[in-house]
Symmetry: C2
Subunit: 197 residues, 2 copies
């Protein structure tokens, strides 16, 4: 056939695709422990052993879901950065906003990405964005500031998703706080690695 893989559907249509989709929604609905290969099969209207042909194991399916989620997250960040003003700091903030927005919209998937998608030179775009804010800084300072930015944003959204921060607050208030956090973060980056004032 034309493509390398599964060109024409046989019994199901495209089971691999259906399983990934079912798995993703199942994960978001029932969480972690409710995620079951058999339930994915059920949602795809297929026997309990059918997934085995497409995914060697449960972890294999999770890995694929994480892989796609990771791509989607990167895309969200870049889209948000493009919407921002054409200015280094604004673009960095945009990426961070995209990061948090994706996590808030897909909390379990976000968790999964960080639990499963280990050891990947993640978020290279973030490093670029930070570097653009402090172009004159030394490489190691840029690296440290990237870590700082990432840690701040990641920690904040995680704590918020876990309900440790701003538990009883309005959505409006949380947005304001997030932006204040990002502003403080940018200022710190500028001060630490910034223009030789």
């Amino acid at each position: 056939m034309a493509t390398t893989r599964k060109a024409a559907p046989y019994h199901h249509g495209d089971l691999r695709e259906a399983l990934v989709k079912a798995g993703r929604s199942l994960l978001e609905e029932k969480g972690w422990r409710g995620f079951t290969l058999r339930e994915c099969a059920r949602r795809a209207s297929v026997s309990h052993a059918a997934p085995a042909y497409h995914f060697a194991s449960l972890d294999d399916l999770l890995a694929e879901i994480a892989r796609r989620g990771s791509e989607e997250m990167t895309a969200t960040m870049e889209a948000e950065a493009r919407r921002a003003k054409d200015e280094p700091a604004a673009r960095l903030v945009g990426q961070c906003v995209g990061y948090m927005a994706f996590a808030a919209a897909n909390p379990r998937l976000f968790e999964l990405i960080f639990a499963r998608d280990a050891e990947r030179g993640q978020v290279p775009a973030l490093a670029t964005a930070v570097a653009a804010v402090i172009p004159h800084a030394k490489p190691d300072v840029k690296a440290r500031m990237t870590d700082f930015a990432w840690a701040t944003v990641h920690g904040f959204i995680v704590l918020m998703l876990e309900g440790r921060i701003g538990a009883g607050e309005s959505s409006r208030g949380l947005k304001t706080r997030s932006l204040a956090l990002l502003a403080a973060m940018v200022e710190t980056i500028l001060r630490e690695g910034g223009v030789p004032d």
Copy 2:
């Protein structure tokens, strides 16, 4: 029986205690999906149904482990703070160091604490420590700075544990980086809510 609960051991000795201990080490060893009520029972040399008497469910045992872990973590933070210089900023840094040290020493337990121990007015000591650094700031600024500090420290240690930050770095280097991060954090707190310079 003097105390309210399980004063003298019966068959086992103190099964409840043994299960918590076995569960904690099992969690650290096999992680999360290897954590099994039956394996805990096995490690305590007891039948598979014995735990049911002490813990209503697997979640119940996890909750207890998380509860104790949380206390231990708080103690670690306070101990580290006491070891620091008698100065607000140093004590805040000390608490953060304790936070990271505990997480690094008990990564799975640390995860568990944050996953299970939801909705608790966590880390009140951190809020106190931050407030002491910026005594003249308004309450809402203190709150924001506490969130900022917590997010920074939490994000950093999580990313480090996941291997996203400083993957190939020496332990020495990581320590230096951590301290640099904390220093930047304290400076930001001072600048944002600090002394009216």
